[in-house]
């Protein structure tokens, strides 16, 4: 087993552990910190896959921006809660059953159709950043503009929703 594969397994395990801890922790701040762990581990996997630009965006936007937003809101609305799971035992059992069914369905599709088996990857001549920038501003100009409009709308929406009542 090569070192690269071993590193991938390490970060994958880190991501899964962080995700499980995020869902099960009682304190929302702890959940947020474990989610940061997951995001950083996923960013490391992006580096291994040669997606340098996505690595930078993942660290800056997710582990930086979005998680700070989460922590800020947790500090604003934090309430100590005796119960962490919603509903009664029936709700919990039903949720777990549904999750397992989803897992089974996805795994079935995977086992049946997925032997994609890796092709030999030829590294690109130019850097990843250059190629992504080229594609983003040439081939995907219109989606890029639409997504920036979406961000503007979300920003205005957040301001309107978060504004105190007059």
């Amino acid at each position: 087993m090569s070192l690269g594969l071993l590193t991938f397994y390490f970060f994958a395990a880190l991501a899964v552990v962080g995700a499980v801890m995020m869902v099960t922790r009682k304190n929302a701040v702890h959940s947020a910190v474990y989610l940061v762990l997951t995001f950083v581990a996923i960013a490391a996997i992006y580096v291994q896959l040669g997606a340098d630009f996505l690595f930078a965006v993942q660290v800056l936007v997710y582990a930086g921006g979005i998680m700070v937003l989460f922590l800020f809101v947790i500090m604003l609305v934090n309430l100590e809660e005796p119960r962490r799971y919603s509903g009664g035992r029936l709700h919990l059992g039903l949720s777990v059953a549904l999750t397992l069914i989803l897992f089974g369905m996805l795994a079935t599709v995977f086992v049946k159709d997925a032997p994609v088996s890796s092709v030999a990857v030829t590294p690109m001549a130019e850097g990843n950043l250059q190629m992504v920038g080229w594609l983003l501003y040439r081939n995907y100009m219109l989606p890029f503009e639409v997504v920036s409009l979406l961000l503007l709308v979300a920003m205005i929406g957040a301001i309107v929703l978060g504004r105190p009542r007059a």
Binding site: S2, G4, L5, F8, A15, A19, V23, A28, A32, L35, T38, I42, L49, G50, A51, L54, V57, V61, Y62, G65, I66, L69, F70, V73, L76, V77, L79, E81, R84, Y85, S86, G87, S95, L98, T99, L102, F103, L106, A107, F110, V116, S117, S118, V119, T122, M124, V132, L136, Y140, V147, L151, V153, A154, M155, G157, A158, L161, G162, P164, R165
Partner: protein, 101 residues
């Protein structure tokens, strides 16, 4: 250093299932939003994995769009949480029954 694409898909599958479980069982709406972020990240891993598999950067472009949409979603979602907390003094989904008959 070639990671098999199947292993990336398995990682993504596990993260999606954990995220769905979080959305279904947790009571705190902020943690539900975090679980949704986890699901979006799992989709992103798939995009990047297949981008490498077919040696085509379009998957990474869609990954960037995915992250943008996630940022917009979380901004509006957290604004709704704050507005709700201001009105109802709660962040629990089972107490958000204003529009339930």
């Amino acid at each position: 250093m070639t990671i098999p694409t199947e292993h990336l898909l398995i990682l993504s599958l596990i993260l999606v299932v954990i995220g769905v479980a979080g959305v279904l069982i947790r009571r705190n709406v902020i943690i539900i939003l975090m679980s949704i972020e986890l699901i979006l990240n799992a989709a992103n891993i798939n995009f990047v994995a297949f981008s490498r598999q077919w040696n085509n950067l379009t998957g990474q472009i869609f990954g960037v769009f995915n992250i943008t949409v996630a940022a917009a979603e979380v901004a509006v979602g957290l604004a709704i949480v704050i507005a709700l907390f201001r009105n109802r003094e709660t962040v629990n989904v089972d107490e958000m029954n204003l529009m339930k008959w």
